[in-house]
Symmetry: C2
Subunit: 333 residues, 2 copies
């Protein structure tokens, strides 16, 4: 075991685009577990677009302030337990922050099973997989034969959303940036069509790719792409609002999508935001379904793993620029 901790601080609240200067690595003493706490060694940190939103203010969690360790979820191993029900060697998922070690109250740690490979705990059985599962099935409620559109389709959540929609018998259209990603969605993941938002107006391409209209739009990005989907929604369509990546990194948008609320009325749409943790009581059923699909070869797990705690800022900056395919994470130990 190391004698020192290593931590990555957010040194200032970014005003515009996130860059490496917003972070600093520091050494610190190893934390100590008090009664009711666990000392954890961080194994794999999850990178999520929402990390960026946390820096700007309170969301569904408190803001990450300047001068503090950057927050982030991770799989970690229990090194020392001062809480009942946990023993050294156990694996947990927790908001450890971007650091090598942390002491946390046991009630903030969720015990997770040891699976092979361990990275699946961050991707398909982690926040990404559960967000895709609950957001699509519980919020979007697609029926066989319906058309499902997902944005950021090559990302961690989108790539799983599209595949689950295919498993449920839907026509699936992904929106992603660049021809390579779009080809990969169709050829490798089995999407019915893909729209490259960098290649031209999304509305026109989407109308061709979804000629009968959109029953369920799984929105990861907000902004112009949300606006392009709105007029194509079918009557009684559902929009599952998962995030608004387009608004995270830079100045806040000066306007929302045109057609709100007018098109919501005339098309009788349901637009519903959700946070994956709200569905955690139904987590076991979700993981059972996801595991079965993975085992049957129906759900391909796409991971993008970087090595070394020091690469975490770079990993997040790249994620916000859309450079990853599938779930991005950093292996720390």
């Amino acid at each position: 075991m190391a004698t020192n901790n290593r931590q990555i601080l957010l040194v200032e609240t970014p005003k515009g685009k996130l860059s490496p200067e917003h972070f600093k690595m520091q050494e610190a003493p190893l934390p100590v577990a008090n009664d009711g706490e666990l000392l954890l060694r961080v194994k794999i940190i999850s990178l999520d677009a929402a990390n960026r939103a946390w820096m700007q203010g309170a969301t569904y969690r408190e803001a990450v302030g300047a001068g503090t360790v950057m927050a982030g979820g991770a799989v970690a191993e229990v090194v020392e337990s001062k809480a009942p029900g946990f023993a050294p060697g156990d694996l947990v998922f927790a908001d450890t922050g971007w650091q090598a070690y942390v002491a946390l109250p046991a009630r903030k740690c969720i015990k997770v099973p040891k699976v092979e490979p361990l990275t699946h705990l961050i991707s398909v059985y982690g926040v990404a997989g559960l967000t895709a599962y609950f957001g699509l099935l519980h919020v979007g409620q697609p029926k066989a034969g319906e058309t499902v559109v997902v944005s950021a389709a090559a990302g961690s959540v989108g790539s799983i959303v599209g595949q689950i929609a295919k498993i449920k018998g839907c026509r699936v259209v992904g929106i992603a940036g660049g021809k390579d990603k779009c080809d990969w969605l169709v050829r490798h993941l089995g999407f019915d069509a893909a729209v490259d938002y960098k290649a031209g107006p999304v509305y026109k391409a989407l109308k061709e790719a979804a000629p009968d209209g959109i029953d369920v739009y799984f929105d990861n990005v907000g902004g112009d792409i949300f606006e392009a989907c709105l007029p194509l929604m079918r009557q009684n369509g559902r929009i599952a609002c998962c995030g608004a990546i387009s608004a995270y990194d830079g100045a806040p948008p000066t306007a929302g999508p045109r057609g709100v609320p007018g098109l919501i009325v005339v098309k009788r749409l349901t637009v519903k935001g959700f946070i994956v943790t709200d569905f955690y009581p139904e987590r076991d059923k979700a993981i059972a379904d996801l595991s079965a699909w993975v085992a049957a070869g129906k759900l391909k797990v796409e991971e993008d793993v970087l090595d070394g705690l020091e690469n975490t800022p770079k990993a997040l900056i790249g994620l916000l620029a859309g450079e990853n395919r599938g779930k991005r994470m950093v292996r720390v130990s």
Copy 2:
């Protein structure tokens, strides 16, 4: 019975604000009922903000084209029946258009009971009352003790929404234009508070009037007021999207409300559009509840009745400018 019909035509599709020049009164031969049809004498025409939206293009109904009789719902009396189940003297609700007589297929006419006063068929037991009932209770789903905010609160729908919310034990805040309307909402209709959108920034006044935040926002207007409500919504709040009056009369808005979809995500909001006719299978239960509340003196029916078919254009133009309190209608015969 008259020997001629009188009709009001929409002479051109308005590009901006609606004005009297967009309409023309003409005489025409009395229509003739064919097999399966009813000849109707129009009694009372309902004026609705949505009438304006119909002129711009297809909504949940086809557009009203230039050179045709202006569309609109009305209570009418059967003069001659060539369809089973209807007899002279029966009352129906139908889209008669703005005219004194019309022949319509019986399947497009809904028989309504004879109530006193007849105007209640257009207000509390008509589209306005049913829209308020279904939109608030089925879409908004308020619970006792929650805060309900309604815009266009002094209008036909809003004045009923607020009163039903009070009946259900909610704290009710109305948004309306002008001190007189606001005083009337609180003193006459029993709202807990009212915000005058003409008196200053809505967000600030609304925050004072709804200090615990908003659980249900019943939106009749869209635009800036929608935007002002969004940051005040409580977690798991519901927005019932009933209409977007602010966008009907004039050029289409160039942008939507800020905070869409970002605030929908972090607050886990449900934003749901609806059209009252979708709920018509449950109409009898709604009318029974509304009648009981009226009879018990819990629900005050506010009506604003003009006389004479020739005044219908003026009545709609004034409605869009917000000059009415309660349900506006025109008595034709």
